[in-house]
Amino acid sequence: MTASALDESAALESALRTLRRGLRLSPEFATGLPVTLLLALVATAGRVVVPIAVQQTIDRGLRAPGGPDLAFVRAAVLVSAAVVALTAVSGYLMNVRLYRTTESGLATLRIKAFRHVHDLSMLTQSGERRGSLVSRVTGDVDQISQFMQWGGLMIIVSVGQLVVASVLMAIYSWPLALLVWASFLPLALALRTFQRLLSRAYTAVRERVGDMLAAISESVVGAPVIRAYAVEERTARRIDESVEAYRRAQTRAQGLVALTFPSSELVAALATAAVVVAGTLLGAGGHLTAGELVAFMFLVTLFVGPMQVATEVLTEAQNAIAGWRRVLGVLDTAPDVADPGERGHRLPRGPIEVRFENVSFAYPGGPTVLHGVTVDIAPRSRVAVVGETGSGKTTFAKLLTRLMDPAQGRILVDGVPLDRIRFSSLRERIVMVPQDGFLFDASVGDNIRYGRPGATDEDILLALADLGLADWVAGLPQGLDTPVGQRGESLSAGERQLVALARAYLADPDLLVLDEATSAVDPATEMRLQRALDGVTRGRTSISIAHRLSTAEAADEILVFDRGRLVQRGPHSELVAVPGVYADLHASWTAQRTV
């Protein structure tokens, strides 16, 4: 499985640091903590006191030396009942407060991570598998809840109980207290190792979940291809591998958990046995009374209890930390294409001028795909970009819209370096229709409105009319309200492109970049659309990438790319006249039409 670039930073740091940072991310966790803690103390104290009270009622009331003391029994029963009620009530209040704060904190965490995924650069995003990204804002966050709703407080309460028990033990008999502590020392050391192993095991579990979701997501999105080629079995095998890897990781982690618990049981028993032996020896020597030893043994159980709880909590903590690690992995990844934000330039509206100065680009770990491109695009011009497939046209468009930053050289828009323009301004003025237009699972109207949120249905219909698409929409079963299905799959490919184009047009940009935006539309519609676009984008700058050279023929200027270099530029009439890449392309194009 491919390792994710997102996990590098957080994987190295210590669990404790992750925990601290994780807690800091959700300040909600701390709201009203003192009261919750108080309730937790009452509830825990109640849980310790109630059995003692029952015991005492029996011992002092029923087994009283002078026969049963019934008045005492009744009084004690009433008091105990009150304590039980108090325990239950504070337990309830504590639970509710905990649920409220943790759920609110976790929701915030989800939202932060979600937002950050969108802030990551396009390249970082496309390097991650969607299913795995989804797990980072769903399951990984859920892992934290168990710990926060139970463990976090228990560890505080347990430490408190440990301290009280320790002090009391020391008061009764310090040699025995030392003995108890000494027997727990190896456990504390062993736990460190266990924790490290567990941490690794749980991190593996979370990664396997991501892998599994990625595999399932692929099989669902690719369902038509899988069926057409009857590769269900192979796909099933791939999914099964990821499911199995997940199960193995879970089982391995559980194996470690299953080892942690008995070790604390054993150490507790050793401590008790040691106290019995040493206490008896001390007692035989007259250094300790029987009553003191019995009381001390009771204190040992008070000491051992929280010790075991702590073991359990630490386990749960590792699980939560593994979740945090995945979320932090997202949040720690700085967007490599950063928004200059408030400090950035805000461009005034108006026709846009673009300048590429010696721009080169290479995808991470790949060869250079754009070599020293220098070009001026005049305001109001209609530019066509052509070239063989893989020659760098889309790359050029992505640099221009700042989906990526060039490795070398710089790009100026209206004289301002592109990376100094704040995103809110940039995305408003420069809009690209990408090669594969994605639609959201909503109506046609809502998808178009995505370009300009405030737009009314009238605005949308007007925009469609501008593009000559009014008839098309009118022909849809429910007009603008026709649902497009997931990823727009209930529309035909050409119809999807019409919606994507209308969406960009409604956004009303000053520079419109079309990356094969009409490649699936039939020629008659395409020509109508082009004519309409020519009309409505007059006075704006537009850049279209297209393999159908009809677009190029109509453009003011053509940029011809060949293997990452800008090899020719000029209007159609000039370029066809000279031998070169464009003339060749155009020859093939005409040859195809004149059969």
Binding site: V50, I58, V225, V243, A269, H547, R548, S588, A591
Partner: protein, 615 residues
């Protein structure tokens, strides 16, 4: 949006037990071991208290009284304590491990089952279910369904404790037993209220969980559009709304659970106190002696533990039932394409016939009021003789892609038949159609795999053959230039390739199979004219060499259409005309408009320019 929260079963508890029974019968051995381990653990917990008491009575106190002790006595006491602890440790380790093993095995088993359904169910079903939701079914819902397995062995393991203690109490004093056993109806009542109140809330929470996953998946998939339109904030708000709703739902669940847990814990203790109170009255009346009351009280404290263990299971039941129902909804979904028995033998190009085919996407379209619009294909008929090529031409949305999915039997027509070599594709046996026909869909889909994996799709094909297909698809050049050649990974959906490169790999994928019927749905839309011309030349050469296939090609470009022996012109899902390219040009105005659009545009442009010049 799919149906809201799944239906709440009136008898949640029974339903929950049935779910658990499924798990128990699926993993009887693991379950037995974990129950035995739990029982050992429970018994040893009781034993450890007893051993400590024994050691105090027989080792410690005598030593204090006599002022000395023997090493033997001390060792016996210490050993007994440690021995019990070892057994207890074994019990707890076994319980934890085997309960986990069982839980994870059940999860994996159902994840496999659910994803198998995803692979089996028809595309129409997929259209109705968002990907994010399907991810949630396979992950969160399966997890919820099997959550009670973790505490289950403990609950079962301590049942015998419950029985022993209960019988012992009845033997001592029936009246006290009756008073004390009031705890059980109280717990039952509490549980009924709990299950009733929690179930709808849990269903809602689980549904919202799926919706959060749905929004996230869709939003991440559309990440590029979100970016290019600068809509990150709006997407975050959309997600926030769902995430906050999930938060509210979880808090609502927590409020009920937060009440149930402490109450369940309090009830047994209250039972003990009630016994003590009534016992003291009966003691006064002389109906009971003090020793018996002490015994009963002690036995009741023993009862508290199994009750709590049962409570852990009960607490998980509503969510488990909700998760289970959501998983069952996937497992019970019907509608996979049934296969027939007939093989599709032969190795030359296949013959294809389409007879009066009708198709609608919406289920109820056939009896819907707007019959004309609902049908995407109506009365489509044509035939292609083996080795021939047919071009399907038609305006955007006229039903061409729909037709291709019928030809390779991704869907079945509502009426009419598709025949390959004279065999109705519905009668063909599983895998036969896919082995005969290959479709290059309009929308390219690549797997997160190597180039080779994407071309062969796991079939055992020698590298030369892969290269040959790549050559024919004009993809050999760029593949050879990739850092690891055929072994280069292309990223999810082929993210590291250009649009035209992706499309050519998809084409090679079809060609490498040497299909007897090749269906190309606008399969060269993203490649430049030169490359397209070369691809077409290659196909034509293969065709005339006789090693070719029967080809159905969807295209607009005349060069592609010219490859075809016949053209089917579709308009609004009907065959508007059929014939050779020349015939159609002559008699069909729509066809003429469509294929001559570029020339006309050019002519108009020239005319306008001419006017401008003369003006």
């Amino acid at each position: 949006m799919p149906a809201g929260p799944s239906r709440v079963e009136p008898r949640i508890l029974r339903e929950g037990m049935r779910v658990l029974w499924v798990a128990v019968t699926a993993e009887p051995l693991v379950f037995t071991v974990s129950v035995l381990a739990s029982a050992l653990y429970a018994a040893m917990t009781v034993a450890s208290a007893w051993v400590l008491g024994w050691a105090t009575e027989n080792v410690v106190l005598p030593a204090f009284q006599e002022g000395r002790t023997t090493a033997g006595a001390l060792a016996t006491g210490a050993l007994a304590i440690v021995a019990v602890a070892v057994l207890k440790a074994l019990g707890v380790a076994g319980r934890r491990f085997y309960a986990g093993l069982m839980q994870y095995r059940m999860q994996a088993r159902y994840r496999r089952a659910v994803t198998r359904q995803y692979l089996r169910l028809p595309l129409a079903w997929h259209h109705r279910h968002p990907t994010g939701q399907l991810l949630s079914n396979a992950n969160a819902d399966v997890e919820a369904a099997w959550a009670p397995i973790a505490p289950l062995p403990m609950a079962v393991g301590v049942v015998f404790m419950l029985l022993v203690a209960a019988v012992a109490i009845v033997l001592v004093d029936v009246t006290l037993a009756l008073i004390g056993f009031c705890v059980f109806p109280a717990i039952a009542l509490l549980n009924v209220v709990y299950q009733r109140r929690l179930s709808p809330l849990a269903a809602r929470a689980q549904q919202l969980r799926a919706e959060v996953s749905e929004v996230a998946h869709e939003s991440f998939e559309g990440g590029l559009v979100v970016k290019t339109l600068g809509r990150e904030q709006a997407e975050t708000e959309r997600f926030t709304e769902r995430a906050r709703a999930l938060q509210e739902a979880n808090v609502a669940v927590g409020r009920i659970r937060g009440l149930f847990d402490p109450m369940l814990e309090a009830l047994p203790t209250l039972g003990v106190l009630a016994v003590l109170l009534v016992g003291s009255v009966r003691l006064e009346a002389g109906a009971l002696n003090a020793g018996d009351l002490v015994n009963v009280a002690y036995l009741f404290t023993l009862l508290a533990w199994p009750i709590r263990a049962l409570g852990w299971v009960l607490a998980e039941v509503p969510r488990s039932v909700v998760g289970w129902n959501r998983v069952r909804a996937v497992l019970d979904a019907e509608g996979a394409l049934p296969f027939g028995e007939l093989p599709l033998p032969g190795d030359g190009p296949a013959g294809l016939e389409v007879r009066r085919v009708r198709f609608a996407y919406a289920d109820g379209a056939a009896d819907g009021e707007d019959e004309g619009r609902a049908h995407v294909l109506r009365d489509v008929s044509f035939a292609v003789r083996p080795g021939r090529t047919i071009a399907v031409v038609g305006p955007t949305g006229s039903g061409k892609s729909t037709l291709t999915t019928l030809l390779v039997r991704l869907v079945d027509p509502a009426d009419g038949t598709v025949l390959l070599d004279g065999v109705d594709v519905r009668q063909a046996r599983r895998g036969a159609v896919a082995a005969t026909a290959a479709l290059v869909p309009q929308q390219t889909f690549l797997f997160d795999d190597t180039v080779r994996g994407n071309v062969t799709l796991g079939a055992d094909v020698p590298d030369e053959q892969v290269w040959e297909a790549l050559r024919l698809a004009q993809a050999d050049g760029f593949v050879a230039a990739l850092p690891h050649g055929l072994d280069t990974r292309v990223g999810e959906r082929g993210a590291t390739l250009s649009g035209g490169q992706r499309q050519r790999l998809a084409l090679a994928r079809a060609l490498v199979r040497r299909p007897r019927l090749l269906v190309l749905d606008d399969a060269t839309s993203s490649v430049d004219p030169q490359v397209e011309a070369r691809i077409l030349e290659g196909l034509r050469a293969a065709q005339s060499a006789g090693s070719g296939s029967t080809v159905v090609v969807i295209a607009y470009r005349k060069a592609t259409i010219a490859l075809a022996d016949e053209v089917v012109y579709l308009e609004h899902g009907r065959v508007a005309d059929r014939g050779t390219h020349a015939e159609l040009l002559e008699r069909s105005a729509g066809y003429r408009d469509l294929v001559n659009a570029y020339e006309r545009a050019e002519a108009e442009r020239d005319a306008v320019e001419g006017e401008e010049v003369t003006a």
